[in-house]
Amino acid sequence: MEPNSLRLKTGLAEMLKGGVIMDVTDAAQARIAETAGAAAVMALERVPSDIRKEGGVARMASIRKIREIMQAVSIPVMAKCRIGHFVEARILEALEVDYIDESEVLTPADEEHHVDKHAFRVPFVCGARNLGEALRRIAEGAAMIRTKGEAGTGDVVHAVRHMRTIVREMKQLAALDQAELYGRAKELAAPVELVRLVAREGKLPVPNFSAGGIATPADAALVMQLGAEAVFVGSGIFKSEDPAARAAAIVKAATHFRDPKALLEVSEELGEPMRGISAAAIPLEAQLQTRGW
């Protein structure tokens, strides 16, 4: 792929930094998100907590629904395709969505391969639990990484684990010499060129965001203090008692994430958060985060 193309793809991710990307399922929700100050929206058929509850095969959202959301707002619109489903991705590209999330929240279409994202002009974001997974996705052409967390739970513990893991594994690379980096690249199952790059720069070559279980302004500030450059909020907003107020509060928390007084102010009088489920109560085979290779 031409280097210019990757710069345009990561360029849009740069514009989303310090912002909140919100899951929405119709035009009315998209307008609430935009009015609250969302930097982008993710157009979905069902939010992750409903996908979890209702089961069945989760696929790319209906085109009519995504189009309705694209027409409703002036901010960027993202949409999800199934892992490895490069035809869903081609359809979303033809629709001209601004970003595609190749997402573990949908039922995977391929048990071994992800989409070759270099082959597309539209940028992709992918989930990761650790540095090896993040670098494999970047090698395939992802222009943004987000933690997977455990979507649809409202429990931030896995997003925290994944962000801490990625940051710790990057710090550890800095202590290794050139010979050791080859061995570490094998352990990470990632290309040695990317491992060397991270060892030298101390950060991923694409923006690093957080997702999966963020439900409160405090959750958003927590993952940002741990190193996230922006946050995705899925079920956390529209499954809460007062979505407009919660959305606006999380937007403020993402900007003032190091300012406890500002966080206190936005955390007051928010109504009830989504009830959620403890991620520890979900058996491994029912976890969404284990999808992806």
Binding site: L8, M15, L16, G18, G37, A38, A40, V251
Partner: protein, 195 residues
């Protein structure tokens, strides 16, 4: 005194890095209106202008920023240029009304229409900026209906991409995303000259 970068949302970190590479002294991330009192100049970064407006239209930020930008050097890119404009289109939204121009949002289309172009520098500015500039356009806006005091610094065809009005400098592209940004160097020089 320091140069501030409005850090409510967007690519403020890329601007801070570009200013440091250009030899600026202290660079401060600005999230509260009272921080403007400590600054000699300000950068309004790229990002989502609708998100930035949410913050600016609360807590006395708006008037303070208007007053600051009316007397100090300001460099605005993309969303920042939208904030400075006299009028905003597609859709219309509030703006500071300091740059005498209309700015049309997402004028080229969605992300698939984002592109890297070469901007030709107007003869009067070639000495400072060189003959051409790399212009990274991301869901870019377009300048229209420029007022008599607005100079076109760089353009592609007949489209102005970088304009100046007194101490205001505004780009529809992102010099902060290019590996070397002569525009940041020029801005830092102008801030020193206007001291």
């Amino acid at each position: 005194m320091a140069i501030g970068v409005l850090a409510l949302q967007g690519d403020f970190a890329a601007h801070a890095a570009a200013l440091r590479r250009a030899g600026a002294g202290a660079v401060i991330e600005v999230r509260r209106p009272e921080q403007l009192d400590e600054l000699e100049a300000l950068v309004l970064p790229g990002g989502e202008s609708t998100t930035m407006l949410k913050f600016l239209q609360a807590g006395g930020f708006w008037d303070k920023l208007r007053e600051f930008a009316a007397r100090r050097p300001v460099f605005a890119t993309c969303a920042g240029a939208i904030l400075l404009a006299r009028r905003v289109e597609s859709p219309p939204q509030a703006s500071l009304g300091l740059l005498d121009a209309t700015v049309e949002r997402n004028a080229y289309g969605r992300q698939l229409e984002s592109s890297i172009r070469q901007a030709q520098v107007a003869p009067a500015f070639v000495r400072e900026l060189g003959p051409s500039l790399e212009a990274v356009l991301i869901r870019a806006p377009r300048f229209k209906d420029l007022g008599p005091d607005v100079e076109v610094v760089a353009s592609a065809g007949d489209e102005p991409l970088l304009v100046r009005q007194g101490r205001l400098l505004a780009a529809s592209f992102h010099p902060e995303l290019s590996p070397a940004s002569p525009v940041h160097g020029w801005f830092v020089d102008q801030v020193r000259r206007w001291r």
